[in-house]
């Protein structure tokens, strides 16, 4: 194995491969940073290009684009409160407040560092325990998935401590939106009101671009602000962030990377779910959860390390079982197949060089990404120096392009605008766009797995045994109950201990 790893490293260091990795990273970061252009799209567009190269080089490039795009999404999340890819939704929760406080540079460097660390850890898992990881994917059946997403949904309780009712209503609205379109189990159109194009359902990405970016533009236009946020670059931001990560974020980064890797392994659950869960867990275990959402770097670190760790996780079942753990992994698998390489447990023997080189190249890519990212941040942060009027025009243009590009459909542009209006005017009456997005993202997965679980329960003759007796499900149920009740309980307990004059935990 070690000689494979060394050989893979040398192969990655070939000038041409190194060039592809760097080009892939830069391209990926740009694609990721632009709302609407997702990692899936970027990788899919480049797959045909890889046909012209040998398989290894092609994979190195695709891996670099994947990593870059997932990281890149945080740039726009932080700078303009617009997740560049769905994986970065949770990054807006603290990234944007940091930006508004004038700490954009710290947030950007923090997200970059966290992304590299998360990506590196996820890849290490892929390198050493790919096969056991893949087996974990198989343990996750429909009921387990259902509970995982319910657990993700319980984040609402933590996200809206001050007004749980509004949070719940927003989340429920999101879930409702997600039911538009064809019902999976019966193939019946729902809530389309006879308008045929809606059978495809509401695409998540245009809805999110609307909720986050377009609504932001309306706010921007209405606010007469000259700039979207103050930008006070302070020297030493890099060393400050690194020191902070080293002293107080180690556990956070490790935990989030682990969550990202595990969620990544599961087919059908990707960076968007991993980052939300990690964010929530980090908040829960923090000494003072109430700081979250006001602009703390820990929130950014949790979300960004998790979504990059997803990459290593998602590739494990793809390489070893031929079951991709994410949409991007599926596209990469298409590329592998087109090169005549069959995934499977035997891939490490039959195409060992290729498999190891690919994985090792991802480690190299995550190191390279740190330096390339640092270089690019210098430029991207300057977006804040652009007058708000121009930024507004830019965001609108990107929103339209990004929404259209998902399915090449004007309907998605209309959906984007409608959700922009919902996000803006709903926000004024307390609608929480974050929890609504959560509903839209998780809704389809919850429903799909609920219906599968019910079919299985029908065959096995017991709803109870399907939903409540699988060990993984039980763990997830306990987590969920804890997650829902914890914020209230902890608040109560703090109040008590403060009243008793304890207070050292406060």
């Amino acid at each position: 194995m070690w000689e494979h790893i060394l050989a893979g490293f040398l192969e990655t260091m070939q000038p041409f491969n190194l060039f592809l990795a760097i080009a892939g990273l830069v391209g990926g970061i740009v694609i990721g940073a632009l709302p609407g252009l997702t990692a899936t799209m970027g990788v899919a567009l480049m797959v045909p290009v890889t046909f012209a190269m040998d398989a290894t080089s092609g994979l190195i490039m695709l891996g670099a684009i994947y990593s870059g795009a997932i990281y890149g999404g945080s740039n726009s999340a932080i700078l303009i409160n617009t997740p560049g890819t769905p994986s970065s939704v949770a990054t807006t929760f603290d990234g944007w407040p940091m930006c508004k406080k004038g700490k954009a540079d710290e947030a950007l460097i923090g997200s970059l560092t966290a992304s590299c660390i998360g990506g590196f850890i996820g890849t290490l898992f892929l390198l050493f325990v790919a096969a056991p990881m893949a087996k974990l994917a198989l343990k996750f059946g429909a009921p387990e998935f259902f509970w995982l997403c319910i657990f993700g949904l319980s984040t609402i309780a933590a996200m809206s401590v001050n007004n749980v009712a509004k949070g719940l209503v927003s989340g429920a609205l999101g879930l409702l939106v997600s039911t538009i379109g064809l019902d999976l189990a019966l193939g019946v159109p729902r809530f389309t009101f006879g308008y045929y194009p809606l059978v495809g359902g509401i695409e998540v990405i245009p809805a999110m671009i609307g909720l986050f970016s377009f609504s932001q533009v309306i706010y921007l236009v209405a606010s007469k602000q000259k700039f979207i946020a103050d930008y006070n670059p302070s020297p030493g931001a890099l060393s400050r962030v690194l020191r902070k990560f080293w002293t107080s974020c180690k556990v956070n980064l490790l935990r989030s990377s682990l969550i990202g890797t595990v969620v990544g392994i599961l087919p059908g659950a990707g960076g968007e779910i991993a980052s939300i869960i990690s964010y929530n867990e980090t908040k829960r275990w923090d000494k003072d959860p109430s700081r979250f959402g006001t602009g703390v770097i820990e929130g950014v670190a949790a979300s960004e390390s998790a979504n990059n760790a997803v990459i290593g996780g998602a590739l494990a079942p793809m390489l070893t079982l031929g079951i991709p753990g994410s949409a991007v992994a599926a596209v990469i698998m298409g590329g592998l197949l087109a090169h005549g390489i069959q995934p499977g447990f035997k891939i490490f023997e039959s195409s060992g060089n290729l498999a190891y080189t690919f994985i090792v190249s991802l480690l190299v890519v995550n190191v390279l990404m740190f330096f390339i990212g640092l270089f690019l941040i210098k430029g991207t942060a300057r977006v804040l120096n652009v007058p708000a009027a121009y930024i507004g025009v830019g965001i609108v243009a990107l929103s339209v392009i990004g929404s259209y590009a998902i399915r090449n459909s004007m309907l998605d542009v209309a959906i984007m605008v409608i959700f922009g209006l919902i996000g803006h005017f709903g926000g004024r009456i307390g609608l929480d766009t974050g929890t609504m997005a959560l509903g839209i993202i998780l809704g389809p997965i919850i429903e799909e797995n609920l219906s599968k679980s019910m079919s299985i329960a029908g065959a096995e003759g017991s709803v109870f045994s399907v939903f409540f007796t699988h060990p993984i499900s039980l763990v997830l149920i306990i987590f969920t109950v804890f997650s829902v009740s914890a914020p209230a309980l902890i608040a109560k307990w703090r109040l008590k201990s403060n009243a008793q004059g304890g207070g050292q935990n406060g």
Binding site: G27, V30, I31, L34, L37, T40, M41, G42, V43, A44, L45, V47, A137, L138, F140, G141, A142, L182, L184, A185, G187, P189, Y196, P197, V199, G200, G201, E203, P267, G268, L321, G322, I323, A330, V331, G334, G335, L337, A338, G340, Q342, K346, R382, V383, N385, Y390, G394, A397, L398, I401, A405, R407, N408, S409, E448, S455, I456, G458, A459, E460
Partner: protein, 329 residues
């Protein structure tokens, strides 16, 4: 102010880049050879499934050979959603001038109008050719207690509604194969609908399903972990010489997934002839066949006429079957 201008330029550059990325996939090749009347400009190739997917990979392989024969390139357009229905209706609605070709899948184009009121019908198309035929397979986990299709049927007969069968999507090839099988074997099963082959395969390997009905192409990758009990092809499959067909087992289960290319009804017959001839040439190129094999695409060429005949037949069968099981009026 100077600074902001600079960054406006930067913004514009980023925007342009975005546009470039969007159109990058389309490629572009200028050629001034206009000796032939058709095609005189690039041809739109509408794909109803995502870039990088199986349909797309197939079309991209074809494109390589098309480019050698015809001076005008294909411009790929991805109109995805609703199991392909969005793209298929886009193809049907395009101007019949020969400049919008589309990839279609059977039974999707047959079933979507029947089951989901899709906005196209099989009569909206003129068929150029069929390029792929992917049979369905009845598959179990390698460690399954079932060793043959007969054992599965016996179990299902003894326990109606208890056999957990995974399929991918409703009104799909695997759904039809399951309905046919239930009808022919006289059994009733619990159908569990998955979104894609990936989670369906994972569920079978994880033990959530007893059996599954899936594309042979998707099963091939996991043959060391799964056993194929029967296939829907008319004859045994080259890679699975041990596996019987449903026909051999005495059941008329023939549902499969076929891919081909179409233009709109009303297209100039000369253009249709040109396209049919060109596609035939490509499909018969040994290099192309080799490429398809490498990509794991189960090649089966049918001429436009034969493909059309097949679609009509499939439609009649599906109507009868869906009526029988109460899924269509």
């Amino acid at each position: 102010m100077k600074c902001s201008k600079k960054w406006l330029v930067y913004l514009i550059a980023v925007l342009t880049l975005a546009m470039l990325i969007v159109v990058a996939g389309c490629g572009g090749k200028k050629d001034s050879d206009k000796a032939m009347k058709y095609p005189t400009k690039p041809i739109n190739m509408v794909m109803a499934f995502t870039a990088g997917g199986s349909s797309d990979v197939q079309a991209r392989i074809m494109q390589k050979y098309w480019d050698k024969l015809v001076p005008q390139p294909w411009v790929f357009q991805y109109k995805t959603g609703a199991g392909g229905a969005i793209g298929f209706s886009e193809i049907a609605k395009a101007k019949p001038d020969g400049y919008t070709i589309g990839g279609v899948n059977v039974p999707h184009i047959v079933l979507q109008p029947i089951g989901q009121n899709a906005q196209f019908s099989i009569d909206d198309y003129i068929y150029i050719c069929q390029v792929v035929n992917d049979p369905q397979a009845l598959v179990v986990n390698k460690n399954s207690r079932f060793k043959s299709a007969k054992e599965v049927i016996e179990f299902a007969k003894a326990n109606p509604g208890k056999l957990k069968v995974g399929i991918v999507g409703t009104y799909s090839g695997s759904h039809m194969a399951l309905l046919e099988w239930e009808d022919q074997a006289g059994i009733k099963t619990a159908q569990i609908v998955y979104k894609g082959a990936a989670d369906q395969n994972a569920a079978l390997l994880g033990g959530e399903l007893d059996v599954m009905m899936g594309n042979v192409n998707d099963v091939m990758r996991s043959l060391d972990m799964m056993t194929v009990l029967a296939v829907t092809s008319k004859e045994r499959i080259k890679f699975l010489p041990e596996t019987p067909t449903f026909k051999e087992l005495g059941m008329n289960v023939f549902s499969d997934i076929r891919r081909g290319f179409v233009v709109q009804k009303g297209t100039d017959p000369q253009i249709v002839k040109f396209l049919r001839d060109t596609f035939k040439k490509i499909a018969e190129d040994p290099e192309y066949i080799k490429d398809m094999e490498k990509a794991g695409q189960p090649t089966e060429y049918l001429s436009g006429e034969d493909f059309e005949k097949y679609v009509k037949e499939n439609n009649a069968n599906a109507q009868t079957l869906l009526k029988k099981v109460g899924l269509a009026k």
